[in-house]
């Protein structure tokens, strides 16, 4: 860009160019949805087959895979932070949305441990769905909103699903709410 004298039409072009160059990079969000989506999906499916195989303490797969996902997530956040240099309104709202997500998630996990996992799973799906809907609305990305709605509906349906099949419902919910929209986000132009 040249920086000499310029006329009023050019002034408008400069504003437009800078605003366009600052458009929110939706693609950057995809990696987080895919990381958590595939990890939760894998944990649910592996847990399901471990239950069928009557393996003791099959639930261990959850802390193992979620712990691994969290470490990878921290690396990703740190890398993004280093490469960053700007923060938009959407960045800030998105950041607090996902920070706030951990509150209800923790309550649901503790409810599962101390009350009943059968009652906790539908809430997981509702929380995932709710976060996807809000995030999709912020990014103006319809597949994420739709995926979140499907996840919430599956959460309601799960109340009536017996025993270990709840795990398959959870896998389905995360596939609809995070994985499909995550891949779609990865393919968007800007």
């Amino acid at each position: 860009m040249e920086y000499g004298n310029f006329d009023k039409k050019e002034a408008l072009n400069v504003i437009e160019e800078m605003v366009n160059s600052s458009r929110y990079k939706m693609k950057a969000e995809a990696k987080y949805f895919l990381l958590w989506g595939w990890m939760v999906f894998a944990a649910a499916i592996i847990h399901f087959f471990l239950v069928i195989a009557e393996v003791n303490n099959s639930w261990i797969i959850w802390p193992v895979l979620m712990g691994l996902a969290f470490i990878i997530y921290l690396f990703m956040v740190n890398k993004t932070k280093r490469e960053g240099g700007s923060s938009t309104y959407i960045d800030r709202v998105n950041k607090y949305l996902w920070l706030g997500f951990f509150g209800p998630l923790l309550v649901t996990i503790l409810s599962g441990v101390f009350i009943s996992w059968a009652a906790a799973y539908p809430f997981f799906m509702a929380i995932y769905g709710w976060s996807a809907i809000v995030s999709g609305g912020l990014l103006k990305f319809k597949p994420l909103v739709n995926g979140g709605i499907v996840s919430c509906i599956l959460g309601v349906a799960t109340i009536f699903v017996p025993g270990m099949y709840i795990l398959l419902m959870l896998a389905l919910a995360i596939f609809a709410g995070f994985i499909i929209p995550g891949h779609a986000l990865n393919n968007v132009e800007s």
């Binding site: 860009m1 920086y3 002034a11 408008l12 800078m18 960053g84 240099g85 700007s86 923060s87 938009t88």
Partner: protein, 93 residues
Amino acid sequence: MKELDPILHSRLRLAIMSLLITHDEVTFPFVVEKTEASRGNVSVQITNLEEAGYLDVTKSFEDKKPKTTLTITKKGETAMEAYTKALKEYLNL
């Protein structure tokens, strides 16, 4: 017709302010990258805009490296609003 603000009616200063109006905050390297101007030129124009009260400059350290962060002020927002309004009038938009 209202005169265009001479502080903003400069390509680089306007580019910097346009970045700030769309962000909560930006770092100095980010501005250099987006405007494709030299570091020295960007630095001078940031000082001019700071002296006009259009932006705030915060210097800090991150990972033991100095970090310069810019944020737009209320006065800067008002000036940009007035500038774009006047520009539209001039261009009959």
